[in-house]
Symmetry: D2
Subunit: 399 residues, 4 copies
């Protein structure tokens, strides 16, 4: 198992945007990025507040001179450094409304970008970003981290190989309970921006987590969407965005999908789950128990596929996404790191002048991001029209 | 634990309508009815084919002289017998389109009736039947058997007592795979009538199993429905009725419900499950593992309620619905028998001249049946109108 | 599916010994016996206290004239009745120390017997009973009810067919918590006699439940025992018999078995479980979730065998032991009834003059009972000798 | 959450001994060590074969000049480097028989040591190592990695706080299947040395995995051992060491423990599990699903404790051992890294001249290692004496 960076012959250098005190996902990016020892975190603009940005640096072992007070400063100063010393990529772990301007600045400066989802504040920004990425050289990856789980990739490969036949139904749920109360009033930073339409965008739970659930089905099945009908609810009094919602999706092949997202279900933690029905078989996977997937065929015992890199039933990408033998559980960080790993391969190809895939990538890409933003905008549009069907086709969608 | 029939001082006498060779549910009725030794099966009209009806009698230990060739014959001959010898009740285990005429005949003849669901062929019949029951003396119970599970009743009592707060979301699913292929072409009797719109009614999977899922949520929560939006699919080529479908329900209190039913999901057996979210707690139950229910509250360990008649946490009706101590699993037959048990109590009250509840009954009643038929008819209506919202209020619904 | 009694052409008539107020297992026998409508409970000696015996009869719908005050009275009066009217079999559901005299009396009077386990008070009685059964005509069955679960029989058939290869290890556990406190002081009848060495025999938990665990392994594997080493503990102060214990078994083929039994494990209900390792495969089953069994082979996905009478993978006896299609859970009563069903087949053969198997029976027989008593006596003997190995060979053991 | 190294103000520098091609655990050490970005791997003696040692270095991003051909060379060259540049600690990930000489060399040279378990080749070496550690300044930690799981630490704290009352029974199992066939003949490096008594020591499965199971119970309960009785088996033909075994442990307080280890159970992956019974409560945990622990008390719903750093029920050390919120699963690497994290705290204290605990450490220490070796040697001794009880007291054992 080769874990160094091949022809690049050095570690990639990372800058983290966001991730200051009270952040959750910044630390996740930092941990996932170095898991395989292929990168090191050397710079950051850890907060939009310059003082807080600098104060947060020691916790990441970022040296004071590379703890920048703003993205602009980061880009300017890093560009001035020689290649090999300056950062190779930035990871954007900030509230949604800032993704687009930051990504734009970084891409235009030539830095590779790994960006949190949802990709942008609205669909328009997303489409602009896609154009920008198409015209740019850098790698752009989106942290739909759940696609990094080995068994999620196994599902994708099994479906692509036809093992489940034609896919007819997708049921994805993402059930949480942490916003059952108005945490946004308790100075919980993550709750505050997520429930604020000026920062989160047009949707709450639907933007934050339903996008993951929808994306998971898309990643596994490759089914192209056609229409969506959606009903959103805000169950906690005084909240401005949805904290519960449900969408039905018509795929172009006639399949029917459903997506349910909740942030108000008592005691539910991070329960992303999916069931997929095909004409030849069906599967079921659940993020909270990610090392198992159940595959069923009528007349046969149910098959529990475990994450086993050495098993004959594991397909190529899935096996290559494992770091440990079966029974030694892998989890959230490793899946997140698998998205990074795929992006690194592309970054190294770029750096060493090799060709690399830009559309049908293993890592979620800018088109997944546009599709995700369309999922949000059309869900909100349908909800506004009393849950009626609205267009959800996207011609550049991943297959 | 008193299991005899109290003041009646004898076993109840049962006639079975339907249940001939190839039937599944007839045998279930016969087994459940006698589980507590409070009734005995003495007569039957086991098939609409008189010869087959008589040929099927030995398997039920029904004596030849009470193995009737038709419902009419059964009613006529049994009425002629003295009380105590003639049957006290009939169980209707026939295809849907025959429920109404049979029930009508039996009720008008004064016999108590336990009827399979869905209650009738269409909503109009259901409403007529409700009127008839209101004007009649006999007991009428509907075999929504899943309401008989002790932990389902526990859920109902916990919610009624306010332990989960106000209910905001209900997610019910009923996933099967047995109609993945066209069993209806293979002379599988149960598949044949269920997929035939002249026998099953306006819906396939939605009539057969989605009704159970919807009813389960209604039984547990007591929430009154307001509107429904539904999308139905027929995935198996050449089939005339839906084998997959999905509905969204708006309840009158603002809660949102979803019901998904599938008969085409490979390897799925009889997977009825439900999740309910309230402002104070949430619960989850699954029919295939019926002796456990998970109750969650933010900040507390998840609580697994097991079916334990001796535990302080078990509520009254739930505890009284158990026959075995915890860890000695109970299952499908016992739940079915619990519906019978509740109906028996009413029958005995009637027979001994005591007052008994006719509306808010422990057993599913005729109003549950009307609501179920409205669920079907409005689901089909919404589907016909491209999944738009249609009225689903029913003023006599169970609370 | 034929459920009547074939050539006998009538239901079998049952008498229940024991089962008076406060009893648990008497009601289980009564329910299991009639589950298939092949028998009816018509007589009883429900308590060793004649008044209580008569007072308990109405709850079983036993008529006053057949509610006897003693076993002797029951035998005498029933023998006087004509065949077809008198009881065909007695079920013994009394404390252990009374099993032998009751069984002896009934067998000598020509009645078939279904007896609770452990079979007798001590090994000597067991051996005498075996001799008696060998010299008698009646059927004698032992209610090792867990052998009645369809998937337990499936395991037995799979192993017998060689699907798991040679068996090398058996790990059986039976973990309960109900005797964590001294219920025997609280007038809980079942706790009182089970913890009283004059009624229960030489062992407490080991006699009551470890016997089931050991028997389960023996039934599934057919491995013959050779030696046993055992350590018993009494963790609850003042209790006279073991409430926790552990045994290691050497089988004649070189396999190693372990049996752990506890009645003092907080919150554990009736957790009988088993794991079996063979050279070609391994399996795992758990009584509290009896409709699933996991079968594993290196390099393959784990296989969940569900109780599915229609599945190609279900073997003959296992499929014939099912009453419901898959996903419609069966449980404790049905398994218990399967032991009855197998015994009924033998009783009917006897009654109609047909040959029937008396040694290698589907129901647990008198030799299983002797082996169980030897398991208890040798466990206690080993424990007395500081857990050293003692002889545990039994030449008549089931294969 | 402070993740830098406080007063040390730089990352710790690590050398890896072992971990060359074909190794499993070397990569685990390397990954776990850097997970929190508190250390960096800068040097190694990756194989006992100098050429292979150097060839393996690029995969770890170790520079050629610090890829040493032997431990001696590593120690000599690193000692010559200035503090802050030379390695702070070595991680020993080699076969068992080399642990002692390597640890001795490194400790005597002043390097902190993190050593794989079992700690040494035999008990005598272990006792010598303990003396050496007592007389040395460096930190010595043992990678009993399963103690690093947050819920394992939660169990320890709950038990220490008395929540389960007095502990009476411990049942630990470690079931694998990977040595079902003679992998040692297939040039699988890990299988080869583990089954070779000249490298692995006196025991096979019992040294490799039963030690983990025993240690887990000791870590959670603090119970001191008194005696052990053990039976070992070698089920795979031609193998020299045990591949299956079972031990019973008498603890000094009267509690009874059992440990079962298997490497020949088809399809079992890395199934370390434990059940603990106390007078006030009982718990159950399983390594393959490490984010859940079940706690039971009679009369209460079973409680599923999930790994939730923010929940009121989480105790101090357990909460501090989490890196992600609940529902975002953590797994094997994080647990391993938690052992490193605790050792780092001690290393930094040493480096900055602060006092630190050397006996009752959060990380497994040299005394745990001696106890583990005594577990192995006395298991083998008991097995040699036909499974009779032998002494297993160890006065320096962790409480």
């Amino acid at each position: 198992m080769e874990t160094t960076n091949g022809a690049l012959n050095r570690k990639l250098k990372m800058a983290l945007i966001g991730g200051g005190q009270g952040s959750f996902i910044g630390r996740v990016h930092a941990t996932a990025a170095i898991l395989d020892n292929r990168a090191e975190l050397v710079a950051g603009a850890l907060s939009s507040n310059p003082e807080k940005a600098k104060a947060s640096a020691p916790a990441y072992d970022i040296k004071p001179d590379r703890a920048y007070g703003s993205v602009e400063e980061l880009v300017e100063k890093e560009r001035a450094l020689p290649e090999g010393e300056r950062v190779d990529f930035v990871s954007i772990a900030t509230p949604n409304h800032t993704h687009y301007p930051i990504a734009k600045t970084c891409l235009e400066a030539g830095f590779n970008v790994i960006c949190d989802k949802p990709m942008t504040f609205d669909l328009e920004e997303a489409e602009q970003l896609a154009k920008l990425v198409e015209q740019s050289e850098p790698v752009f990856a989106l942290s739909h981290n759940y696609t990094g789980y080995p068994l999620v990739r196994q599902a994708r490969e099994m479906i692509a190989s036809g093992m489940l036949g034609e896919i007819q139904a997708v049921r994805a749920n993402y059930i949480q309970g942490w916003l059952r109360t108005r945490l946004e009033d308790d100075e919980v930073k993550q709750a505050a921006w997520r429930t604020d339409p000026t920062k989160s965008g047009a949707a709450g739970a639907f933007g934050d987590i339903a996008t993951h659930a929808y994306n998971l089905g898309r990643f596994m099945t490759g089914l192209l969407p056609s229409q969506i009908a959606c009903n959103l609810k805000t169950f906690v009094d005084g909240r401005k965005l949805d904290d519960y919602g449900h969408a039905v999706i018509r795929y172009q092949n006639g399949a029917l999908g459903t997506v349910t997202a909740s942030q108000i279900s008592h005691g539910r933690e991070n329960d992303l789950s999916i069931e997929i029905d095909g004409t030849k078989g069906a599967l079921q996977w659940r993020q909270e128990n990610p090392n198992e997937m159940i595959v069923r065929k009528n007349g046969e015992p149910h098959a529990i596929y475990t994450r086993d890199p050495n098993a004959p039933f594991m397909m190529e990408t899935a096996a290559a996404s494992c770091r440990l033998p079966s029974g030694h559980p892998e989890a959230f960080f490793e899946a997140f790191a698998n998205v990074y790993r795929a992006a690194y391969d592309a970054m190294i190809a770029r750096a060493t002048g090799e060709a690399f895939e830009r559309t049908d990538t293993l890592y979620p890409n800018v088109y997944d991001g546009v599709e995700g933003m369309k999922f949000i905008s059309q869900s909100v549009a349908s909800n506004r029209e009393n849950g009626s069907w609205v267009d959800f086709a996207y011609e550049k969608a991943r297959r």
